[in-house]
Amino acid sequence: MAAAGQGGRSGGGGGGSGAGGGYSSGTGSGRSGLLDKWKIDDKPVKIDKWDGSAVKNSLDDSAKKVLLEKYKYVENFGLIDGRLTICTISCFFAIVALIWDYMHPFPESKPVLALCVISYPLFILSMFVCFPLNRIRTYFVMMGILTIYTSYKEKSIFLVAHRKDPTGMDPDDIWQLSSSLKRFDDQYTLKLTFISGRTKQQREAEFTRSIAKFFDHSGTLVMDAYEPEISRLHDSLATERKIK
């Protein structure tokens, strides 16, 4: 247990004890030097502890880091890429409307304008259906009830990763991370979902902790306290697999 923790700390590089084990090479050559100064991936994460969204983002990012670096899973960008493309396409509709209206002043441009104005929200709605970030919202949209009410309790998926099967025969297992942190609340819930590639069965594990357990008074995320929780979550799902 202790050895695994140590391994995680030096691997994650986020520990407060700056061993300085950086990944980006500090060679100081011109362009990579500039990039090094810009990227602050390896420095301990320090945020404003009163800013709820910054807290949630840093906890999510660190959980992602643990899964990707310690367990060497590969992130699957399908969901995210899909959303980005759909949003880009809807912006295209807006640009088309703008340019068309500029070139053919209003009354003549009415049909094109109407088409663009209708397609813009339709595309965005389709994004919620095709690339859902959680299951509950898909249900609502499909039922035709557009809830603008942001359900604080809904957890949104922020990481889809897969582990390539070493034998190359079975389809990949999928790990999903989702989390929630209510506004002005200190209870952070992290849920890890494991979908077996072979049996297509799904198992979940989650924990809810106060964010005060992971951040010190200056707003620095203490990986020594956070990383074991993630590992424990992961191992609880992984060991079940071995038993079966």
Binding site: G18, D36, I40, C91, A97, P105, C116
Partner: protein, 192 residues
């Protein structure tokens, strides 16, 4: 450890770091920030264009700039317009029209209408608070307005709300500063 020291002295990492959120992002997240900004602008644009299509008027929401329609409308009131072709223009109605050669629309009341059988009309307008009719405002030699000059007919109004637009037009630097701050906030802050 040496490298960490070099980074520390050459870039401010304490105090106000407005790029703090951006520096922790990968390419996709950076693209999402830009996309988020574009989506907000596009949504506003689509709502405006949608209103244009719905009401049939090229400027469905206008602000009253002068006091020529008091006591009905005061400077700073917001007006909602529609411009459906089937609606007849009758004396007594309040219309917003544009005079050829000027780009600021005028809000006044129709006082005289001549209508042909095929629907062509000529009408004369006057502000409620003015002494004379608007012939002095029309183009040189023009005595009547036609349907094509109409931007829309007033259907509803909100008092005082338009003062914000008037202030922003009188102090354009304030408008640009406000837009720049809002734009920077959306681009630089990472949302959850």
């Amino acid at each position: 450890m040496v490298r960490a020291g070099v980074v520390g002295t050459q870039l401010p990492t304490s105090g106000l770091d407005i790029f703090g959120d951006l520096r922790k992002m990968n390419k996709r997240q950076l693209y999402y920030q830009v996309l988020n900004f574009a989506m907000i602008v596009s949504s506003a644009l689509m709502i405006w264009k949608g209103l244009i299509v719905l009401t049939g008027s090229e400027s469905p929401i206008v602000v009253v700039l002068s006091g020529s329609m008091e006591p009905a409308f005061h400077r700073g009131d917001l007006l909602f317009l529609t411009n459906f072709r089937e609606d007849p223009i009758r004396a007594g109605e309040i219309v917003v029209f544009k005079v050829e050669g000027r780009d600021i629309p005028i809000v006044h009341r129709v006082i005289k209408v001549h209508e042909k059988d095929n629907g062509d009309i000529k009408f004369l307008t006057k502000g409620d608070n003015n002494e004379v009719d608007d012939r002095g405002l029309y183009k040189e030699g023009q005595n009547w307005l036609e349907k094509k000059d109409v931007v829309g007919r007033a259907r509803g109004f909100l008092p005082y709300v338009g003062m914000v637009t008037i202030i922003m037009n009188d102090y354009p630097k304030f408008k640009y500063a406000l837009l720049a701050v809002m734009g920077a906030y959306v681009l630089l802050k990472r949302e959850s």
